[in-house]
Symmetry: C2
Subunit: 146 residues, 2 copies
């Protein structure tokens, strides 16, 4: 049985203003800026963003993918991949926080393209997020990290 | 300057049917079930879910929190916390995949309450998500992991 409420609304809280593949400038809109207070206490963050170029009916129907950037990858369910084409166009990336300049975060390692809306930022908590025993199939070791 | 599109829609792809704090039963709706194919290749997953009980205007205005479950935590910006009251009520949890039974995932370590809608599942990729050098403030070591 499917429950009655079937969707929610995400507000865009900021944007990836520039990204050169290594260092990225993430601007948080002024109305959400107060939420960044004290963020410098964390070395790493988890950025949730919107794959805005994949927010189409067709992309959101994707249930199987072949991760072509990863040599040797088999066809797999989309939830076993980081494909930007997926039922909800949400991207997730662990980044290193280089510095904060007011409402702007300079981060390292963000895989989002310029113009991507930001939907959430969370602290990377080693106790919860660092799993030394985690295992992934061999094809995930080829190509880009995500 | 704020860009023109300001929000997106997330579809609920499943639900946390039962959770006893250790083992949780995550049911994915049949129309998205094909996206689970091959998920067993990963030992751990990242579950994105909806804090449905906090999807109110008031909770979504939260910009500063005091993480009371964590002894010694200071007041901090909401993006430096895992608080369920936040501008977008999105929860994130790294879990261990115990087994898949058709459209149902049995997982360990999920911090979501029963009835929480699921919005995305991603594979935990050690190359991208495991950061041995990550540092977090001392108060994050007290209380629950998130």
């Amino acid at each position: 049985m499917r429950d009655s409420v079937e969707s929610g609304v995400v507000k865009f809280i900021g944007i990836v203003r520039t990204s050169n593949g290594k260092e990225s400038r993430v601007e948080i809109y002024s109305s959400f800026c107060d939420g960044l207070m004290g963020l410098e206490a964390f070395s790493h963050l988890i950025i949730l963003y919107w794959f805005h170029e994949r927010d189409t009916e067709e992309c959101r129907r994707t249930l199987r993918v072949v991760p072509r950037k990863h040599e040797g990858a088999p066809e797999i369910g989309v939830f076993g991949s980081r494909s930007p084409s997926r039922p909800n166009p949400i991207g997730l990336c662990v980044v290193r926080l280089l510095r904060r300049e007011g409402c702007t975060l300079m981060v390292e390692g963000l895989d989002a393209i310029e113009g991507s809306p930001i939907i959430d930022i969370k602290p990377y908590l080693p106790r919860a997020d660092l799993v030394p025993s985690a295992k992934a199939p061999e094809w995930t070791l080829h190509g880009p990290p995500t």
